[in-house]
Structure formats: C-alpha cells, structure tokens
C-alpha cells in the first residue's frame, strides 16, 4: 500500500493507486495502466502479475484522474435536471434514461428544480463543474441561453418535456396541444358543450400549449366560450380541489371537466367526490396516473409516455455524444387517449 502517505494525517488506509499496483507487480506504472485499459503490447506474464496485484490490493481506478488526463476527457457521467425527482413523471423519465445509460456504463447525477429558474442554473453549474459529458434538462426558466456556453465547451444537450428558449438544441416532448384537443373532442363527442378547463401555472409552456389545444378544439366544435369556466394557475391538489368545488357550485356549472395535469386531475376528483358528482360530471385528465383504473368511476386520461420520452432523449443524447452534429431535432411524441369511464359520462339534463 502507498508508502508515499503519512499514516498519521490519513485516518484511513489509502486507496491503492497505479503506483502501488506497479510496485507490487514489479513493473512500471504505465504497464499497469495498459493492463487496466486493456491495451495490448503487454507480455502475458506481466498481465498476470498485474492482475494479481490489482486483485490483492483491491485497486480501483480513479475515473476522475483518468478523465483529467485522457484525450477525450469523458467522465462517463450525465446530468439530469428535472422538475421533481419524487413526482411520477420525472422519476419515470429518470428511470428510462438510467436504463439506457446503463448499456453505456454511464452514471447519472440528477437534481430537482421545483419550477425555480435559479435552481436550474445552479444545478447546471454544479454539473458543469463536474464536467458531465451530457445534460438532459426539463427546462423551467424563460431563457436557456446560458447553456450555449456549455454546448460550446463540448457538453451534449437534450431538452425534454418542454421547449427551451434562447437556444437551439434537441428536444423530446409530448404533443401537448394535440392531446388537449383530443380530450375536448372526446368530451364533445359525448354531447358536452360546457367543458371547463382546469390548468396549471400559465408560465409553464406545456400548460400554455394544453390551453391552446383546448381553445382550438372549442373553436372547431363551436363550443360556447365561457371564460368563467377557465381556471388557471392550479399547481397543487388542494388548489385544484378548491377551484373545482367553486366552479361546480357556481350558477352555471360545466357538465364536463378537462384537467390539464396530474395533480389537478386528482384535485378535481376529490372535489367531485365531495360533492357527490363523480358519476354526473364528466372528467378527462391530461397525464395518466397510478390507480386511475381503480377509482370509481375509472378515470379517462390523455396519457403521455414518460418512459418513452426518456428513452428517446437518451438515444438522442448518445448520438450527440457519438459525434452527430447535424441540426437540432425536435421529436414530438403522440399522446394516447385512454377511455375508462369518467370521460364518457353524458351531460346531465340541465
């Protein structure tokens, strides 16, 4: 083990280095390096001696030192910036990327931003200081221009879920507008003409797109345009519950609800249950969620496929890492309509 360290100041046994291995095997450091990296040009006998020493010392290459010295500078780590590691959408995304990364022996460092632009930037900075090879980002702020410096420095970059602003780069996202449009069409097909929109924070681009889809569909089907039935900026279950209750208690309540997001859908369900209207008022939610088909009525949704987004984004990133420098691509993934019951309730007699 290292003779070059002071056992007093070092509370722990030092980790073995190339030097230690070389000393034990009776060869030069470089030869050990060659064996570790599987380069050829080392005599079988020496390979054996080196591998024995490696095993004996439980040698672990220092990947950081290696990346520092290596020509391509790759660290084999990619960074993911997500909305909230604990929410099902983000975590499915993360998991899908992890599975793809696995095949390439890449590690993932990840962080949550919670709709905080500042946090997005500090996370990216932290990743950049660790010299990650690539970044997969669900952007939150209004401007991702600051990432151009990263790209110039050679970091590959793929956005997911939301379009970036101020930079041209690959992006993989769902057809938010199309999905929302389908939801409204679906409700209109059952005869609904008073369909409320329950939406997330308007600063979120996907929320904007979903509202646009709603709007678009209303026009196409000549549904009455009733601003009182448009509720925006619902970001938590409780927000959504309260807003839905208020809406349904109003003078001219809608006969159907379109909930533009997971938590909003759940909040709406809670409100419907509280008012005993779950079998009377139709509901279609954007985003599938666990248990949707065990509730009563079972909940119809427009499903995104976060795993697929993650997988596609990872593949995109890998192509970039492999040197693809063609023009940035935007991949839009179709949503799936899953009718389960709640979206097929006909309008109540008024």
């Amino acid at each position: 083990m290292s003779q070059h360290s002071d056992p007093v100041t070092m509370p722990y046994r030092q980790r073995a280095t190339l030097r230690d291995v070389a000393a034990m095997a009776g060869v030069s450091i470089k030869t050990v390096s060659r064996v570790v990296n599987g380069e050829n040009g080392v005599a079988p006998a020496k390979v054996a001696a080196v591998t024995r020493a490696i095993r004996q010392l439980d040698y672990r290459p220092n990947v950081s030192a290696s990346a520092l010295r290596r020509a391509n500078r790759r660290t084999a780590v990619i960074g993911m910036v997500l909305e909230d590691l604990a929410n099902p959408f983000s975590s499915a995304l993360l998991r899908a990327v992890e599975d793809a990364a696995n095949e390439r022996q890449l590690l993932i460092v990840a962080g949550s931003v919670d709709e905080d632009q500042e946090r997005e930037r500090t996370l990216v900075r932290a990743f950049s200081e660790r010299r990650v090879d690539g970044l997969i980002i669900a952007p939150v702020g209004e401007d991702q221009g600051y990432l151009r410096a990263e790209v110039e420095a050679g970091t590959s970059l793929v956005f997911v879920d939301r379009l970036p602003q101020g930079i041209r780069a690959d992006c993989v996202l769902s057809d938010n507008e199309g999905g929302a449009r389908t939801a409204v069409h679906h409700l209109a097909d059952s005869g609904h003409r008073h369909i409320a929109y329950l939406g997330d924070l308007r600063i979120i681009p996907t929320a904007q797109q979903r509202f646009a889809g709603y709007q678009h569909a209303c026009l196409e089907r000549s549904l009455p345009w009733t601003p009182a039935n448009h509720v925006h900026d619902l970001h938590t279950v409780d927000d959504a519950t309260a807003a839905t209750e208020r809406l349904l208690r109003s003078g001219d309540p809608p006969t159907a609800l379109f909930a533009s997001q997971n938590l909003v859908t759940i909040g709406a369900i809670a409100a419907l249950q509280r008012l005993g209207l779950e079998d009377t008022v139709a509901l279609v939610g954007f985003d599938d969620f666990p248990m949707a088909d065990l509730l009563k009525p079972r909940v119809s949704v427009i499903a995104q496929d976060p795993s697929r987004i993650g997988r596609v984004a990872a593949e995109q990133l890998f192509q970039r890492l492999d040197g693809d420098d063609s023009a940035p691509r935007r991949t839009v993934l179709a949503t799936t309509t899953i009718p389960r019951g709640s979206g097929e309730i006909p309008p109540a007699r008024r």
Copy 2:
C-alpha cells in the same frame, strides 16, 4: 483561451482553466486559485482583475482536478443505491436526501438495482471509482461485506430500508414488524379472526419482518393459524391480483386481508373490485400510496415515511462525513396507522 491545445484535434473551444484566467489577469495561477477559493492574502486590485477575467472567460473550476489535489479529497458527491428510481418509495427517499444534500452543496448520483445483487455491486463499484464521499444504500443482496473495503478507504456509509448483512454500519428503517403487528391488531379489533397474509418475495428482509409481525399478532390474539391463508412471493400487481382472487374463491375465504406492500395492496384491491367484495372484505395495506383516500372504500394503511427515512439517513451520513466515528447506530422509525375505511369493515356473516 488555452494556447496549449490543438484546435484541430479539439473540436470545441476548450474550457478556460486557471492558467487562462491567470494569463488574462496577469497574475500567477496560484493567485487565481486563491481568489476562486476565497482564501485571503490577495490584494484587492488583483482580486478585481481576477474576478473580471473569470467572468470574461466564463471560467468553471474543475471540481475533479480540485478534489484530486485537495487534502481532504472530497468530491462533494454522494451515491445512492435504490430499489427502483421510478417507484414512489425510492423516489421519495431520493428526493429527501437531495433536499438535505442541497444545503451542503452535495450532488447525488443514483441508480436502481431491481432486486439484483450483481447490480448492487456494479453500482457501488462505479460510485467508488468516482470516489463519492458517501453512500446511501437500500441493500438487496444477502451480503454487504464487500463494502468494508469502501469504508476502510474512507467512504461513509448509511443503509436505508433494510438491514445490511456482513457489515456493521448505520441503518435507518421503518418498524416493519411492529407495523405489521399493528395492522393485524387493527383488523382483529374489528372482530376479524380469519386474516390472510399477502406477502412479497421471502428473500426480502422487510417481507420477512412483516410476516413475523403478522405471526406475532396472530399469536397474541389467538387467531387460528391457517397456512392456506399465507401467500408469499407476490412481487407485482398481477401476481397479487391473481393470488387474491384465488384466495377469495377458495372454500374457506378470509374475511380480512393484510397486504404487506404497496403493489400487493393495489393488486388485492383490483381483485376485490373484480369480485365485488371491496365493501365486504376488510383490507389493510403496508405502505401508503397516492389515491388511497380517493378509492371506494378508502384504503386503510400502515404508512412508512420515506421522506423521513431519507432525511434521517442523510443527516446520519453528514455526521459521519463530519468525522463522527462512534459506534454504528440503528434508527427504527415508527409506522403510522391511517384508518380510512377499508380496514374497519366488520367481518361478514359466515
């Protein structure tokens, strides 16, 4: 920018280094280092020149190189080995650790093991090759002895969710046995005497503990011991659904179910619904899950608090990082009983 690189082999503009900053500011590398690290002993004028150069070059310290050279060798990264980044329990844990890590400017690299021992070891190896400062591990294999080498090399280590084997180290977990016991008591309190056990893979220590709790409670309440009512090794929703259906269709069906885990609970609910027995057969599940209080009947559970486990584990790890070398601590967190309806259904007349 770096004059010391070949623009042909380097496809991208190199990242600025201390050297570049020093050249631009007209000082030595070491002085720049001092400014970057906030050491004192630099004249205000030079500080200004250096900071200007840093901004102008968009200099990013190379944390890896820094850690390599630095006395304490800290990389400010911790590794997490979890069951499945996409499942709510793991992701809540991850998120809680992330929040705690944030305050210390630590980054997290994480990976899923999916009950695969082999994968646990390769992940740990990968983390170790990156020289993470600490590890938080939900162990899966039968032996974590291989981690002693990591600990000796100075890596701090905290286990979560499950006790490790073959190594003594800090561990933070829920009171699995106690929680299961409480569940059975709770059902017995409503008059049930035929309570089925629906359990996860028997190789999983937590599943063993929960079964022990079940067994313990049956003894305490002198409930009839009916092995036909003990189903083990259910690991997916579908497994659980099929097993539950089989059980309830048998000659002597139980009047209550104890589901030892999330997915099993969900599978049981699906089976109950399919048979129209959800309001007849009582159910208590181990682990809370989203939507549990929107189902009909609402589902009673024994809840763990994964966020709390994560937070406590992170704090434990930080103490170790700060030099605490007292004896390993085991922290057992109490579970919470949440009665919501399904667990309070009285036994059906037989």
